[in-house]
Symmetry: C2
Subunit: 340 residues, 2 copies
């Protein structure tokens, strides 16, 4: 098999540890990858690049079109732009796919049967970056919703549901208040739903939708929503499924794709070999499927599952009193490799 | 004791049933109220009043300054303004106080020790009502955050915490993205927190904050946040504490106050004597405290608690297999009255 070129960034904080662990597993599993390593994040920001992206990183992405990215740290203080948001917009990564699955009883959760995917619009909404000062006491930020932006992510959600054997697509909006913006998202959802008669669909106001998602997540399947709701609610579903530390994310566009854990760079525990590499590892599984190496993806996923099922856990997931073993980042990767 | 004048609206859907139940309890408890009943909601909208508020309702409020309000139904279709949002802005009800407490084991919840209060900014944010069409494919809504608007709700939260023996105030913002608007809310929070050295304070990014709130709500005490986050997350906390059907809400301003359940008018179950009056009844308890009838408030609250503890429940809360009794709206009110 020809090697697939991908761009890899080790990021900041716990980034380097979890990326090393992930790449060791991928190599041992026989992933055919031609890895270009680039520099992003804190060091690049501090060199004065306001997006945190080294120019070389853009060059690499233009070649590979696939980015496996560790979390980064944005320095405190003004003038820095979010690297994630920059990437999503620059590469038109319009769909942010965030599956959350409970691995009960191996990972503690109050929602043992939950298995859902949030598909978050990834470029518009309050993330459009249009914010300004009116007076020194009055600030405004613009929420932007467009017809084409809504259409492509909603269509992606229905196509994803069909391709993955999912049965229902739910839409969350607040169109009793935002009648034009969220109203447009709702209207486009209804139009596209009509093209997929094999799938069920429903729309909920985001407040009661969020309440049900947090209380009875097992009732949901695929849920599509504007950017900010998706940001907040995908952290909610990840945490109640067991831990934000386990949740992967795929940022998908027509020409590019970026894969990452949903958690941050956790500088407080960096360099201690305690971080959980699972979020990034599961993101790399999504990446392998995306680049056509589905059987390697399956091998990695199964080995990871067996590791968890054998009670091998990093500190964040470990529980006293259950037959289990607490290990470090490196040893966790070794345990996955031993089960490939 | 002189009677306190209050304005009451029976609303739509289940509104009339739960309001009758609530007022019967208040009367039996010896609340000294001079009730002015006004018409709001569906019928008023259909008479062409775009806010759903009868002119007589405004007159009454100008006299009483206290509003006990049942849920209403906003008719489908364009041209109608949210009555709730209209009231909050017209009466400057800047703080929306939403306590959520678990009543375990009497009400089923996965979070038996949670006891927190969300204080939601109630006039600004995306609720400012500034929304427009750029082209037929591009819509925008303005998120507005002001220094005075942030200051008064945050100060209210700290004063509330102090007055109610609470220990910690947490702030939720997304100022890694909305550096100006949410950044201002965060900055004002830090400034005001410094004036309350007896209280702990912390700020969390709303995504991870929401995740923790949904997974480990028992860690939170008072949580203050901009309007839309508060809308979504107060439904989340209410639902995971047992049911949105139990949650009250107080909308507080310097000159006026409005008390209501957080749930809607549920037209699908209207007129069947099955609705749970608890949300509105507990809102009326908050109202009694507000108008200086704290001992009546305490009597009502204790009788309600004993009712729940005796296993008397409306359909939404009733569970098979626990020693309990399923009753209708009217009978639930009777059970509370019997325990006054
Ligand atoms: C780091 C931050 C800009 C980002 C976001 O808000 O989208 C993160 O929370 C996420 O969910 O990927
Ligand atoms: C009915 C609606 C306008 C209202 C809101 O969004 O504030 C409701 O959800 C609430 O929380 O009181």
């Amino acid at each position: 098999m020809a090697k697939t070129p991908i761009t890899v960034a080790y990021g900041d904080g716990i980034g380097p540890e979890i990326m090393s662990a992930t790449l060791r597993v991928l190599e041992a599993a026989g992933a055919e990858l031609d890895i270009e390593t680039v520099e992003i994040g804190e060091k690049v920001y501090k060199r004065g690049v306001d997006t945190g992206m080294d120019p070389g990183a853009w060059d690499s992405l233009r070649r590979t079109r696939v980015f496996l990215k560790a979390p980064i740290t944005t320095p405190q203080g003004g003038g820095y732009k979010s690297l994630n948001v920059t990437m999503r917009k620059a590469l038109n990564l319009y769909a942010n796919v965030r599956p959350t699955i409970a691995y009960s009883p191996f990972v503690e959760t109050k929602h043992p049967t939950m298995d859902l995917v949030i598909i978050r619009e990834n470029e518009e909404d309050l993330y459009a970056g249009i914010e300004h000062r009116q007076t020194n006491q009055v600030y405004q930020c613009l929420k932007l919703i467009t017809q084409p932006g809504s259409e492509r992510v909603i269509r992606y959600a229905f196509d994803y549901a069909r391709a993955n054997g999912r049965k229902k697509v739910t839409c969350f909006v607040k169109d009793n208040i935002m009648k034009l913006t969220d109203g447009l998202f709702h209207k486009v959802f209804d139009q596209i739903a009509a093209e997929y008669p094999d799938l069920q669909h429903e729309t909920l106001i985001v407040d009661i939708g969020a309440a049900r998602l947090a209380n009875t997540p097992e009732r949901f399947d695929v849920v599509v929503m504007p950017n900010l709701y998706g940001d907040i609610l995908s952290d909610v579903t990840a945490e109640i499924s067991g831990s934000v530390g386990l949740a992967p994310s795929a940022n998908i566009g027509d020409g590019f794709a970026m894969f990452e854990a949903i958690h941050g760079s956790a500088p407080d525990i960096a360099g201690q070999n305690v971080a959980n590499p699972s979020g990034l590892l599961l993101a790399s599984v999504m990446m392998l499927v995306h680049i056509g190496q589905a059987s390697v993806a399956e091998r990695v996923h199964q080995a990871w599952l067996r590791t968890i099922e054998d009670g091998v856990h990093t500190r964040d997931i470990f529980r006293e009193g259950v037959s289990s073993q607490q290990v470090g980042t490196t040893e966790f990767a070794d345990a996955v490799i031993a089960r490939l």
